[in-house]
Point group: C2
Chain length 213, copies 2
């Protein structure tokens, strides 16, 4: 189908991606420190130091993983926020709904990476920490700009807090939604999506001061 016309040494790209996928699953399950390079290698059928053919070290695997997600979130979020059909002049509500839908979808489809991102951030190299932090701040800013069109009077700090809190709400999903089929007592993914979107929008537009006592 979409062969990128690269030589057969694109098997390397496949291997690399397999390693990143396995890393996401293993790190999510056992934490960065709880996974050995032998474990990671075994998960993709090679064993041990073969990983050094693809990454400069264990930390670099984590770095590639998390910088990757952060970029995905930023570009996806920017696209979603810009999707307002009426151009830049809408009231922000459309952008916000698109952002919420995008983020819920992301969290439901890639729970592992979400988990690793706010669990093992501190295991990144300082450089990667900066890169991820910068991307995350930019992503938050996309949300803040959408929120500002709805609540121009609110401080940026408040809107940032709102965005972060809603990320927490949505990202809590991995803990609560049944990961595979045959779940017990958990809400299946499809209805969960709608419920989470409704909760997120309610939280984003909740009054700043509690109205009635």
């Amino acid at each position: 189908m979409n062969e990128t016309a690269s030589p057969r040494s694109e098997a390397k790209a496949v291997r690399r991606q397999a390693l990143l996928d396995a890393a996401a699953a293993l790190f999510a399950a056992q934490g960065f420190a709880g996974v050995s390079l032998d474990d990671l290698g075994a998960a993709v059928g090679v064993s041990g130091p073969a990983i050094y053919r693809h990454f400069s070290g264990k930390q670099a695997v984590l770095g590639a993983l998390l910088v990757g997600v952060s970029e995905e979130l930023l570009t996806g979020g920017s696209r979603a926020a810009g999707l307002a059909p009426g151009g830049e002049a809408d009231d922000g509500g459309t952008s916000l709904r698109a952002l919420v839908a995008f983020h819920v979808d992301f969290a439901l489809s890639k729970p592992d990476v979400i988990r690793v991102q706010d669990r093992d951030f501190t295991s990144l190299s300082p450089e990667d920490q900066n890169a991820v932090r910068t991307l995350q701040l930019a992503y938050v800013d996309v949300w803040v700009e959408a929120l500002r069109r709805l609540q121009p009077e609110a401080s940026r700090a408040e809107l940032r807090l709102r965005a972060q809190a809603v990320f927490g709400l949505i990202n809590s999903t991995p803990h609560s939604v049944g990961r595979t089929r045959r779940d017990g007592g958990r809400v299946p993914a499809a209805p969960a999506r709608k419920l989470l979107e409704s909760m997120a929008l309610a939280a984003l537009t909740a009054p700043s001061a509690t109205p009635s006592s």
Copy 2:
């Protein structure tokens, strides 16, 4: 002041508590695996294996810490939910407001422990995992019962998801609220409390199906 009349070997209780406090701070900052027993000992002024006088091992420190919080949350939450002045027959709204206030307060005053609880849960011994899980389920149930009085038609699974999502919202606080004085660009703790309560209540009472659109 309140000397419990125990012999001077209550210095041991003090040391033990100091170890738990230090463990909360260190584990929150660097993760369970990222903290050595030497680190932990040094943080309270003793060094290394002295910890074995107080705990049977590193894992036991984590266990005591997390089982402790889980109990605190359950008893505190039960008390808050029962505080409805009109007895058991109120509409649930009062209980819910009390629960939200309690949880927000807890998350703002002990962010470290919150962080450790959903980050290093898997480093617990299987027995402690069970203990913590059981306590957490009971705590969720307190919320679910309060919610049921407001939304009797909703399934328990949905209410559980709502409760979990709101925990995520509130617990995201540690990442966003300035930990100490002299914060930069972050919302100070007092206004943050009110805002988080408002957002949490809005999310808890958001409609199940997105209304307009």
